[in-house]
Symmetry: C2
Subunit: 210 residues, 2 copies
């Protein structure tokens, strides 16, 4: 029951439909999007949509799954952003990349959509979580593990350390963005610096020069 099998008859028009569905569902949500608007946006007729997808719900599920998969790709990039740098510099770079991704309109829209429909489509929540946050957490954990082996960190549970670092970075930014009231951009860089400072205070190797 993935995006492929949900599409009964793959073709170019099926792609157009999926693209339009992504735009409209992400912008307006499931309930506020109707099939007429969807057909118009895709440049096809409603009947064509139903030739490819059994129902509005099936189309939504296929769309959401596809977008979550794309997310995995996006978040996996930047994994090596922190090569060969001092700990705090590397963490700052990771922080910027993380917040950039977190604040991008496509990701925010997708997350809002998934949250909104997580009761109607319970599986989506799991898929999303495994995609974006899961990938990021794994990626950061790997970096911290390397840093620990190199003596930059104290001996610790690197996965929990990664969770804490990401939490410090996220702050209430995530919530505010989801609520439609993002904080001014000027607050971002100081917040990253403070997140790094707190992380280093707990996990930085005491013996390192500072």
């Amino acid at each position: 029951m993935d995006a492929v099998s949900a599409c009964k008859n793959p073709s170019k028009k099926a792609e157009q439909v999926l693209d339009a569905a992504r735009r409209l569902f992400v912008e307006r949500g499931f309930g506020a999007t109707n099939m007429d608007a969807l057909a118009a946006a895709a440049g096809v007729s409603k009947a064509t949509i139903y030739a490819h997808y059994d129902s509005k719900e099936a189309l939504f599920a296929a769309t959401a799954r596809r977008e979550c998969r794309r997310l995995v790709v996006r978040m996996a990039i930047g994994e090596d952003v922190a090569e060969h740098r001092a700990l705090d510099t590397a963490l700052t770079h990771i922080g910027r990349a993380f917040l950039d991704a977190l604040m991008s309109p496509e990701i925010v829209g997708l997350l809002r959509m998934v949250i909104a429909e997580s009761t109607r489509f319970p599986e989506l929540g799991q898929i999303y979580y495994d995609s974006a946050p899961g990938q990021t957490l794994t990626s950061v954990t790997c970096y911290l593990e390397r840093a620990r082996r190199e003596g930059l960190l104290i001996d610790c549970d690197t996965r929990r350390a990664a969770e804490q670092f990401l939490s410090l970075l996220r702050g209430d930014l995530h919530l505010r963005i989801l609520l439609g009231h993002p904080p001014p951009r000027a607050e971002r860089d100081p917040a990253i610096d403070e997140a790094v400072a707190t992380f280093v205070a707990r996990y930085g190797a005491r013996a390192s020069a500072s």
Copy 2:
């Protein structure tokens, strides 16, 4: 345009309607709730609903606003949970209270609803943010300010410290709950301890006995 003025004709039945609206909207969301179900749940006729509220949207807005205001009251309680205790004990207690509130089904449901409809009703996001997270942040900042004056904390920006502490507590719990996949409860207390440990590593007074 608040909950009062949105209700054209206050009465006992108007209360019943608002109560039913809270339950259904929070459980099922705006789109999946219809006026027939609402009337049945409230024990009144549809016409009665429309005698008190101009439209489904008006009823939703009134309901959401009222629930956000109630939230302020809930979160303000527990402000003095941390009186006369050692720093880490107090922080642990604050942490438990915070997570309890964060995880309560009513609050999660309300938040999900507000996020889901934050494009259709942009004002709601602001109202919610000012209510729950705003109150909590203020409350924790006050405690930290007192602790700082008593010499338990280093000299610091207590508001930012409060933000970081709450972020550490929240972790990705919030996200996972909103996505419908909460982590096992057993992970909660260790996570709180670790949050406190990281916070104290950065902000705890170095001279204090440990």
